[in-house]
């Protein structure tokens, strides 16, 4: 590299030999960033000839000792060529789906920077998105297909490199063999949320549906959505509430068990801006999280007691006569009459009037009309006719006493006077009253986190929360919201996923998977999974109780295949590992996230090593399975097909539009206000209303647990029962008195970015945060190694004293790989037990004990 000749004068002004003299700065209107600078003059244009690329390979000690001559010895050539910039979408499960400029120089991704969403409020990037160069070229990338050396144990790490042909053939052969000996359901596919792209995931779906395989569905954060959605109806979205750009309209924001600043860094600024605009922030969390430190009011709550708190608030609303009956009667099942005989709503047909059937003019389909009955001034009326129904009433239908749903809810609410709630939640009564003031000072955005729902009683938290929101009419309006937000594009052409018709093999939730394998039965069928394909997931790391997976699932399998870009914990236990390309190594799009956008992600570099995109892996596998005819399309053709639908048309979504604009919004309203009555913003329950009382409670998903009548009764209305383990009166806590909670740390997204150097410099090793009181009583020194343990397993990491931690609890960060722990892992302690209705991973419902640990201690 040539050294530019810098005159003494210029050298004084511009102290880098590599640079031209400094630009004289002056005010000018034109600026693209927050910093005003004039257009560059010819003289000030940076001479790139003197640039050194700073490789470690060059020069060594001798050159640098030559003082000023060091630049001459640099090996890299002048970089007059500008960087190529591609649009990439970062897509782990952080909900961000940030648009990045991916800068490529000499065929390498050298940096990323923030690219804009069409709505600049959504433009964002974070430190994980910024460190992609280190992540993409991380030594932990899997370079070639690998097969476990025959005769060695799973997890022993003995691999032989094989070709793609060998790998795909071996996989296909096993699939064929299992299908013929055990049946279609013996082949199972296990996805995670790690690879957020549409085409790749749809290719897997297409293949597994063709094979009629068992789909092992995710059970992450499901109680939260289910507790809401069973009230609102199976809407197009799972996690539905008002869009984040609506937060500014709130008078109060209440965050329930969500550490927004750490788990969703991209969402914080919406809250911040609202606060700058006068909105008040209240945070309810057992731990003093970062967002709690920002709040106007932080309410420490006993973990697992959000539900009583909601009930207590409703109790106060009732006392203060603050119920919005107009809203309730119009939007909810409040006035519907519930028969005490069967718990169902009273319908006109119950009174002997036949249902009428008409034809829908638009579709020609039959429309049955058998309205629910309500009382209006004591007179039975059809619900859609009554102008002002009675919310609180009873009616004797034959011998069956019917009470309005609201009346039944009120009975439940009556069980929660403030004194009872205060004792359960360990929140002072005046604070609960203050919270009630806040919740009545609307519009209120209730930002619901995923903490409180990760217990056995998680479903009832959001069920109760929705009731609370409904009671004050705090739904369906700007600023008035209850829930967590994450949207998935509903206009995807679902025919793509099922080219030969729907999959007749039932899916099974991941949390029930282990149970089903133990019992060998699922939904009255024999269940003997012999082949498991894991993609975009790291269950041995992030799911509950990895020991159960290793000791009970793996031994049953003839083959486990893991497709991942990185050698994760689960990949280490595989029989065959397939290297998947990273996000900027192929073209795809994403269609989910908090910005309600379909995002286009361009290929910036060639796939590294022998990695392949998920699409190509599926193509290869399909070929080996004799299903190549179904995968003849190119990636572009697939994307076109996926993006072509009627709903898409209505939204202006098409492949060409996407390529051109890089980002297409998939919402009919802006901002999206949930339950406002607009298109795709309606209750889609059977009654078309918010069913806070459930006629026919049904579990979220199938499992091997039985639904008993008493459980059905329990689920009709919000019902209090404590967490299973994380409760001072539980059996588990008699032996393990501490509550083991997790946080979503900012230094990873679940277990992704686990080995990135720069992030590990900031966050070097597993730790567990402990209140000094608990630590000192156990002789645990700050920064010493400790072992957390219970009957299921143990994990070792550093103890970190933190007064933010509620005494009696511990907080650990999820996602450390096994090899990063001194012993065990945090996930070993987690339970695979689940609530039969929620069918959710109860990450937080864990009891444990902690003790000092020294090297060489009993494992």
């Amino acid at each position: 590299m040539q050294r530019t000749n810098i005159s003494a004068e210029n050298r004084e002004k511009s102290v880098y030999a590599c640079q031209s003299p400094v630009v004289k700065l002056a005010n000018e209107e034109d600026h693209t960033s927050l910093f005003r600078l004039p257009k560059l003059t010819r003289r000030s244009f940076l001479k790139t000839t003197a640039v050194a690329a700073g490789t470690a390979a060059f020069s060594g000690g001798a050159a640098t000792m030559l003082g000023g001559c060091s630049n001459i010895a640099a090996s890299n050539t002048a970089t007059d060529a500008k960087d190529q910039i591609f649009r990439g979408i970062c897509r782990p499960n952080c909900f961000g789906f940030c648009h990045l400029n991916v800068h490529v120089r000499d065929g390498k991704i050298v940096k990323t920077s923030r690219a804009d969403y069409n709505d600049p409020r959504y433009s964002r990037i974070c430190h994980r998105g910024l460190v992609h160069p280190q992540r993409i070229y991380d030594p932990e990338r899997i370079k070639h297909p690998l097969r476990r050396v025959k005769g060695t144990d799973r997890g022993a790490g003995q691999w032989e490199q094989i070709t793609w042909d060998e790998a795909l053939t071996a996989i296909a052969d096993t699939i064929k063999q299992v299908r013929s000996t055990v049946g279609d359901n013996g082949v199972a596919w296990f996805p995670g949320s790690g690879m957020g792209q549409a085409t790749g995931n749809n290719f897997y779906t297409r293949l597994m549906n063709l094979l009629k395989s068992t789909f092992v569905s995710q059970c992450l954060d499901m109680a939260s959505y289910y507790g809401i959605q069973r009230l609102t109806g199976p809407s197009t979205q799972l996690w539905e509430c008002n869009e984040q750009t609506d937060i500014i309209n709130a008078k109060n924001i209440v965050v329930w068990g969500g550490n927004v600043t750490d788990a969703q860094v991209q969402s914080w600024h919406f809250i911040k801006e609202a606060m700058q605009n006068g909105t008040k922030l209240t945070v309810i969390d057992p731990t003093y999280t970062t967002i709690a430190s920002k709040a106007d009011l932080w309410i420490p709550i006993r973990p697992g007691t959000d539900m009583p708190l909601y009930m207590g608030l409703m109790n106060i609303f009732l006392q203060r006569d603050a119920v919005d009956f107009e809203f309730l009667n119009k939007n909810t099942v409040a006035p519907f009459l519930v028969k005490s005989s069967d718990g169902k709503f009273l319908r006109r047909s119950d009174t002997g009037v036949e249902a009428t059937v008409t034809k829908d003019p638009a579709t020609g389909a039959d429309v049955t009309y058998d309205p629910y009955l309500v009382l209006e001034n004591g007179v039975l009326t059809a619900y859609d006719v009554a102008k002002s129904p009675d919310a609180e009433a009873t009616y004797s239908h034959n011998e069956d006493v019917c009470t309005t749903a609201y009346g039944l809810l009120k009975k439940e609410i009556a069980k929660f006077p403030v004194s009872v709630v205060s004792e359960l939640t360990q929140i002072p009564e005046e604070t609960i009253e203050a919270l009630a003031d806040i919740c009545l000072d609307g519009p209120v955005t209730h930002y619901v986190g995923y903490g409180p729902q990760a217990y056995a009683n998680g479903v009832h938290t959001t069920h109760a929360g929705m009731c609370m929101a409904a009671l004050t009419g705090n739904l369906g309006k700007p600023g008035a919201s209850y829930g967590s937000f994450w949207h998935v594009y509903f206009g995807t052409n679902s025919a793509f996923g099922a080219p030969a018709g729907p999959n007749t093999t039932p899916a099974i939730p991941q949390i029930a998977f282990i149970d089903a394998i133990r019992q060998g039965k699922y939904l009255n069928d024999d269940f003997n999974v012999k082949f498991l394909f894991v993609y975009g997931a790291n269950p041995i790391n992030t799911n509950c109780d990895p020991n159960a997976f290793i000791n009970e699932v793996l031994p049953e399998l003839d083959m486990m295949v893991v497709a991942d870009p990185y050698m994760t914990d689960t990949a280490k236990y595989a029989d065959i590992v397939l290297p998947v390309s990273m996000w900027f190594e192929y073209t795809d799009y994403t269609s989910q996230g908090q910005a309600i956008a379909i995002n286009f992600s361009e290929k910036a570099i060639e796939p590294l090593y022998e990695s392949k995109s998920d699409q190509d892996i599926v193509r290869g596998l399909a070929g080996a399975l004799g299903l190549a005819e179904y995968f003849k399309m190119t990636d572009e053709e697939a994307m076109r097909e996926l993006l072509t639908s009627d709903l898409g048309k209505a939204l202006g979504v098409s492949y060409d539009n996407l390529v051109q604009k890089k980002e297409l919004r998939f919402s009919f309203d802006n901002p999206h206000i949930a339950w406002s009555g607009g298109p795709l913003s309606n209750y889609s329950s059977a009654s078309g209303r918010l069913e806070f009382y459930l006629e026919t409670p049904a579990p979220r998903g199938n499992s091997v647990k039985k639904v008993t009548p008493d459980l059905i009764e329990r689920e009709r209305l919000p019902h209090w029962f404590p967490p299973q383990e994380a409760w001072h009166e539980s059996e588990a806590m008699k032996k393990y008195p501490l509550h083991f909670m997790s946080e979503r740390p900012r230094y990873r997204v679940h277990s992704q970015w686990f080995s990135v150097k720069a992030l590990r410099e900031l966050d070097p090793e597993p730790f567990v945060k402990i209140n000094p009181i608990d630590a000192m009583s156990r002789n645990i020194a700050d920064g010493s190694y400790v072992e957390c343990y219970n009957d299921r397993g143990h994990g070792v990491g550093k103890a970190v004293y933190s007064d933010a931690i509620r005494p009696g609890t511990l907080v650990y960060a999820k996602g450390w790989q096994l090899y990063q722990h001194k012993a065990g892992s945090w996930s070993e302690l987690l339970t695979t037990d689940y609530d039969v209705f929620g069918v959710n991973s109860n990450f937080m419902d864990v009891a444990c004990e902690i003790r000092p640990w020294t090297e060489g201690s009993e494992a």
């Binding site: 640079q19 005010n27 700073g54 640098t64 910024l130 911040k272």
Partner: protein, 209 residues
Amino acid sequence: MAEQRLGMVIDMKGCIACSSCAMACKIENNLPDENWWNRVLTVGGENRDTPSGTYPNLSMESMTLACQHCENPACTRVCPVGATVKREEDGVVLQDYDKCIGCRMCIAACPYTGVRSFNWEEPKYCLPFATGDADVPSHQKHVVEKCTFCNHRLAKGEAPACIEPCPARVRFFGDLNDPSSEVSKLISSRKYQQLLVERGTNPSIYYLV
């Protein structure tokens, strides 16, 4: 009196310690392993991301710390060979790697703990190629380095790399001598604090509180 006085405003009320700014700097400037020019600090407990006080009466904030580009720098005074100088036109304090003799007097003179770093060995990189901007000078063994306000970007009319990526949107950069600049407006309209004011360095970084 300098023509421009480039400076930074960081809104501490909004900072969430995510380290995006620190990471942007690290990648942009191709910092060697273990080397950080910009760091996140927890204003609270003894350990990072922990508060001061006793549960539940707690308090915690975060801030970021890099070279303060002081108006009255202690470092430029003491460098025996003038390897660190404050540029007249805009007030940026720069470091000339080629001149630095590695005496580390500047590190001893600078009151801002840790903002200056010395390459104690041949810079190691976890990648075999440089990341970030092509115009960044290469790092040398046994010289001192620090935040340069991304001098290579200033030359192109761009703000430092740490400003835009902040997801909390709490970082601002501009000319403090220009009353109409965003940074000037912020410090005239909001309460702020500066670090170690009593040392007389007159830093150009303002923290809104």
